[in-house]
Amino acid sequence: MNLEHLSLLQQLMIVLAAVVLFTSFVLLEQARLVAAIHVFAWQGVLVSLVTAIVAASGGLLHLFFSAALTFGLKALLIPWMLHRLVRRLQLDRHREPLPRPALVVMAALALVIFSYWLVLPIVQEELIFTRNIVAVSLAVVLIGLLMMVIRTQAVAQVLGFMSMENGLFLAAVSATGGMPLVVELGVAFDVLVAMVLFGVFFFQIRESIDSLDVDRMNRLTERADDQ
């Protein structure tokens, strides 16, 4: 693929996709919860920017709507909800550095390479541009997954989950120019409901184990059965 042949908007898309990937790394490493929420909000802004760019380059009206939806949901509403929850749970000053940051970053980089390897079988010339952005989105999804695995704090896990969703939005927008509107609305609704339920669960978990460290929830393992 030759970068020179891409339009300026497409180049901008590539740059933004790369920055989204970078925010994923920052989110992964961020120790302070509140700062992590801000990073997540910025990621949402970037994803909605990408959506707006695709809309502008294709002249697709419904995508502008979807950009606004993404912005409202991912950059404003969900971060605001998380912020409020964190304040009500008195976790404003919570920080939890990664145990082995270098190792985690290496794992995340490995995931980036893995996602690229996954899409490599797609070789048609006209698909390559999209394929590469799909690889980056997949990397964002997988890094979100990694974050959910290594973080033991419930709010941080939810941030990982939501950043996975950001990766999915990015993939949907860049690969396909947005899903049909009804699906997009459905997905946004599901994400919103999930966020509300997560909020409910934070309180239930804290009531139950007096902490949001989900590693302490270990009553239901197969090993417990052996005792």
């Binding site: 079988p121 797609i122 993939a171 120019g177 899903m179 009804v182 997905v187 239930q204 139950s208 184990i209």
Partner: protein
């Protein structure tokens, strides 16, 4: 025509909205049963329509011979479980495990769950299918934590996170699918329509489709409970209220598997002309077989009765996944039949287990003893149910498993051994625990409970009937579904 369809799908939603407003619990219980009954009747009417018309399409819906039988099954199990849950949940509320608010939440969420199931089954749009299956998680997750015990909250969190991640991967697969579709189907709005994609399956880009299928399989496979993504399933089943376990095992797993099979059909069409046309099938066979064997082994070490039966669900879902992967008319027919009988049997078992746990006051297998003496109806139901699920003749599970074994013997003889071993291991695991529970000495003062065994009887009766002779209309029905999936009919 479309009216019946809309009525079938949206009755549960309307019921849920109605139930939000109902404060009297006795009324709510009956309303729940009424709505579920109405849904079932509508589904039956729809089935008759489909039998006459072939395929019904409209809006974003499409009913063909494959999903119509699942619709009827879902509505039926939903109805019988609601009948069971009315007195059962009242007992739960009286015993102080949950509050009246919790019970209202239960009723609303039950109908919302039914709505998502109906929507997932009837829609033609793969995006809406995703939204519905994710919606099913959201509707049930609060019910899993209904009792608010630390275990229940842990199980719910695990369920939420694991299924959330799984389903997110499935969405990624759906996006890839849409990506592949865009280069084939001109109308972007039709790009996620299953029927449009199926018509053009051969032109879909194979490399994208196979990648998409891996994500979709992992995603929906999490919901099916395939090993190693099954971790949530035993926890959610054991900690949630019993009616929830019955519908999760009987319905949700089926619907997720339904989604996988639909997608496999697309991928098979796309990969037909490549060097690895069987890729999707092999993946399903691999995941299915592993789930089947691992779950069979795990059956042995369970101490919680509902946990044990949830492993049995994983085992059977593994078997069906394997069969769908194997392909061919015989295996597919067997798998469809197995879906049917497993749903009926497993929901009957969970209902019985609910009563058994009620009698014993615990879910721990070691403390459930002498059911047949305390309350013969429950003891016998459990005995018969387990005999049926373990694949004893003359029950329907035996028929379907026999068909599956025959198909395996024809297509891939090597795996027959693995299947037989797995069946024996699972059988041993179940009966080892069952015997003392049913025949052991009942503890002092163990009293019978108020139990409505009619749903169980009906389910087990149907399974018995299907084992002795499959009625002609049902056989034709399944055969048409087989023809839809494999392109060849069996009968």
């Amino acid at each position: 025509m479309i009216k019946i369809l809309l009525f079938t799908v949206f009755t549960p939603l309307a019921g849920a909205i109605l139930l939000i407003g109902v404060r009297r619990l006795s009324i709510a219980g009956w309303l729940n049963v009424t709505v579920a009954g109405a849904t079932f009747i509508a589904a039956l009417a729809l089935a008759i329509e489909v039998a006459a018309e072939g395929v019904i399409t409209g809006l974003v819906f499409r009913i063909d011979s494959f999903n119509v039988y699942l619709l009827v099954l879902t509505a039926f199990v939903g109805m019988t479980t609601s009948i069971f849950s009315r007195p059962y949940m009242q007992y739960v509320c009286e015993s102080g495990k949950t509050t009246e608010r919790g019970l209202r939440l239960y009723h609303v969420m039950y109908q919302l769950f039914m709505f998502t199931m109906m929507l997932a089954l009837s829609t033609d749009n793969l995006g809406i299918l995703w939204v519905a299956i994710e919606g099913a998680t959201l509707a049930t997750v609060l019910l899993v934590s209904l009792y608010r015990t630390p275990e229940a909250i842990e199980a719910a969190w695990k369920y939420f996170i694991l299924c959330g991640v799984g389903i997110a991967l499935a969405l990624f697969g759906t996006v890839l699918l849409y990506f592949a579709a865009q280069h084939v189907i001109d109308d972007p709005a039709a790009g996620l329509s299953w029927s449009a994609l199926y018509a053009e399956a051969a032109r879909l880009e194979p490399s994208i489709m196979s990648l998409a299928f891996v994500f979709l399989l992992v995603g929906y496979g999490t919901k099916v409970g395939l090993v190693p993504m099954h971790q949530w399933l035993p926890d959610a089943h054991s900690e949630g209220p019993t009616p929830m376990s019955a519908v999760l095992s009987g319905l949700l797993l089926n619907v997720a598997l339904y989604a996988v099979v639909r997608l496999k059909m697309l991928v098979d069409g796309s990969l037909a002309s490549t060097t690895s046309p069987q890729l999707a099938g092999y993946l399903l066979m691999g995941f299915g077989l592993v789930s089947f064997l691992v779950a069979g082994l795990f059956l042995h070490r369970q101490r919680d009765i509902k946990r044990m039966f949830s492993y049995s669900s994983i085992e059977h879902m593994g078997l069906m996944t394997f069969a769908f992967g194997l392909g061919g008319p015989l295996a597919t027919f067997g798998a469809l039949l197995h879906m049917l009988v497993h749903s009926l049997t497993k929901s009957a078992i969970f209902v019985t287990v609910g009563h058994a746990a009620h009698i014993a006051g615990t879910q721990t297998i070691d403390h459930i003893r002498g059911l047949i003496r305390t309350q013969p109806a429950v003891g016998w139901s459990l005995l018969i149910g387990v005999a049926a699920i373990a694949g004893f003749p003359p029950f329907g599970v035996f028929t379907s498993e026999f068909l599956l074994l025959t198909a395996t013997m024809q297509a891939q003889p090597v795996f027959t051994v693995a299947l037989l071993v797995g069946l024996v291991v699972a059988f041993a695991g179940l009966f080892r625990h069952l015997h003392p529970m049913v025949y052991g000495t009942a503890p002092e003062g163990q009293m019978p409970v108020r139990a409505n065994m009619v749903p169980v009887m009906v389910h087990l009766g149907l399974v018995l009937w299907l084992g002795i002779s499959i009625p002609g209309f049902l056989a034709r029905w399944l055969d048409r579904a087989t023809e839809l999936i494999t392109g060849v009919n069996l009968l």
